[in-house]
């Protein structure tokens, strides 16, 4: 039997997901032994042309990380869908939009102006913006179009499985690859991570009070957190209660609060709304102005609660008609 053909691709992402693959350490040798890598632009010399020449469904499994912001990313996603039997959305960006998804809190124009006009170190008196087409003496040059919105992978193509995390934890990647190699995959659409809250696997679980109430909310730079006690009980905005487990609470081990990269559990429809609910309800104040005072410390609620999931949220993006 020939080895299963596997592809990796990156879209709007930082490269951290590729790092996560390398983080398999010696495990990667087993993987390389068992599969035939046919596309991995970040690490190996494959070109899009190579994929275009493949038969439809020739790739057995393709791991796609990153969100979709440009026309090229959309094109490559569709191409890979056509050429692959199974598509796994790999990492927060392709799962729910991720950090690039925060672009949906601004308009395309605002982003362009900030990047090419108003940035602190930008000098652009002629107001030159990147063009998708340019007639040069040597011929027409093309660049991908920067689209209006950021989308997560399942808003562009049909996705079979999701591996959440920013980046996905090595053990979950290994589990997923093993399941694929052994043909023991769960039903289509599954998120390949435990379906319980992060707090469940947090080392500080026992220090979480039964009745969680805090008088003030703090940001990590405003305090030195007790390294033993539940961070939420200390007033740090930790999203463990609403975030999917599977990461082993690594951020909390580093004394930093959970920011929610693993996304929601299966019972949650809108991650940000649920996270907002969890945080707001622990504020130990009853008077409206006192509550407001505490909530004022959440300076960027949409960026905090939808940090990894603006495109996948029920609102999808900030409204631009007001």
């Amino acid at each position: 039997m020939s080895k299963p053909k596997v592809g990796f691709n990156w879209l709007a992402s930082c490269g951290g997901c590729e790092e996560a693959v390398v983080d398999l350490n010696e495990g990667i040798l087993t993987v390389v032994e068992a599969v035939d890598i046919v596309f991995w632009p970040c690490a190996m010399d494959f070109k899009k042309d190579d994929v275009e020449k493949m038969d439809d469904g020739e790739i057995d499994v393709c791991f796609v990380n990153g969100a979709i912001r440009t026309s090229e990313e959309e094109h490559v996603s569709k191409l890979l869908r056509k050429k692959s039997k199974v598509i796994v959305a790999f990492g927060s960006c392709s799962h729910t939009g991720g950090i690039p998804g925060l672009g949906n809190l601004k308009t395309r124009e605002e982003i362009m102006d900030e990047a090419y006009l108003n940035g602190m170190s930008t000098v652009n008196p002629d107001k030159v913006y990147p063009q998708s087409e340019f007639e040069a003496p040597e011929g027409k040059l093309e660049l991908p179009v920067f689209l209006e919105n950021v989308r997560c992978l399942n808003q562009v193509i049909d996705v079979d499985y999701y591996l959440p995390g920013c980046p996905p934890p090595a053990n979950l990647i290994m589990n997923a690859i093993t399941a694929i190699l052994e043909g023991k995959l769960p039903p289509k659409g599954s998120v390949l991570a435990p379906d319980k809250a992060m707090c469940e696997e947090c080392e500080r679980k026992d220090t979480k009070p039964d009745n969680m109430l805090v008088k003030e909310l703090k940001r990590p730079h405003e305090m030195i957190a007790d390294p033993e006690k539940c961070l939420l009980a200390q007033g740090l905005l930790c999203l463990g209660p609403v975030t999917r487990a599977g990461c082993g609470a690594v951020c909390v081990k580093g004394n930093m609060p959970c920011t929610g990269c693993m996304g929601p559990t299966s019972r949650v429809r809108d991650y940000g709304a649920k996270a907002l609910s969890a945080i707001a309800s622990i504020v130990d104040q009853q008077e409206e102005d006192e509550i407001e005072k505490v909530l004022a410390t959440v300076v960027d609620p949409e960026g905090t609660f939808y940090r990894y999931s603006v495109p996948a949220s029920l609102l999808h993006r900030r409204l631009t008609n007001v």
């Binding site: 899009k48 979709i68 026309s71 090229e72 959309e74 094109h75 996603s77 569709k78 191409l79 869908r81 056509k82 809190l105 395309r108 998708s132 093309e142 991908p144 179009v145 689209l147 209006e148 919105n149 989308r151 399942n154 808003q155 562009v156 193509i157 049909d158 949650v268 429809r269 809108d270 940000g272 709304a273 649920k274 907002l276 609910s277 945080i279 707001a280 309800s281 504020v283 104040q285 009853q286 409206e288 509550i291 407001e292 909530l295 959440v298 960027d300 609620p301 949409e302 609660f305 949220s313 029920l314 609102l315 999808h316 993006r317 900030r318 409204l319 631009t320 008609n321 007001v322």
Partner: protein
């Protein structure tokens, strides 16, 4: 109502069983009429209101969401309405930053005896949202991967707003 050209907002109202829902019954018993634009959903306590309900209502076509609960100190479950207030204040702030006008989401304390307040609040809110016009959220994109994608340039005309 006779003018077919007037925009009729859709308002979803979540009223708590013990105070505001009872108040809306009283409004009817007292024969006080109010704008028919509100669809009331009874919940046991305003503290049961998950912020997801509000956003889901807006996503599914509501132009505004009204939440009614017992006055502070009067909650049947002691402190459910305080929880509702905390969540609502933060939700409102977030929705405002997401570009949704403040008038579209409203929390009111309405006791079981305040049938007239239901009338006043519903009429007021209907008028305000009528003024704002329909809520037009961006559609959530869905895959159209079956579409042929022969050349790199073919996708450039689409994507973005859909």
């Amino acid at each position: 109502m006779s003018n077919g050209n007037v925009f009729q907002p859709r308002i979803v109202a979540f009223f708590c069983n013990w105070c505001t829902y009872t108040a809306s019954d009283l409004t009817g018993i007292s024969r006080l009429s109010y704008a028919p634009n509100v669809r009331i959903i009874r919940i046991m306590c305003s503290g049961r209101l998950d912020p997801q309900f509000v956003i889901a209502a807006l996503r599914e076509g509501a132009d505004g969401v009204l939440v009614g609960g017992c006055h502070p100190g009067d909650c049947h479950y002691i402190e459910g309405n305080y929880k509702a207030l905390r969540r609502f204040l933060l939700l409102k702030k977030m929705l405002k930053n997401m570009g949704i006008e403040e008038e579209r989401v409203r929390l009111e304390w309405i006791a079981a005896s305040e049938g007239d307040k239901v009338q006043k609040v519903v009429n007021e809110m209907t008028a305000q949202i009528r003024e704002l016009g329909p809520l037009q959220l961006h559609a959530i994109p869905t895959p159209d991967s079956m579409k042929e994608c022969a050349a790199a340039a073919c996708c450039c005309g689409e994507g973005g707003h859909r």
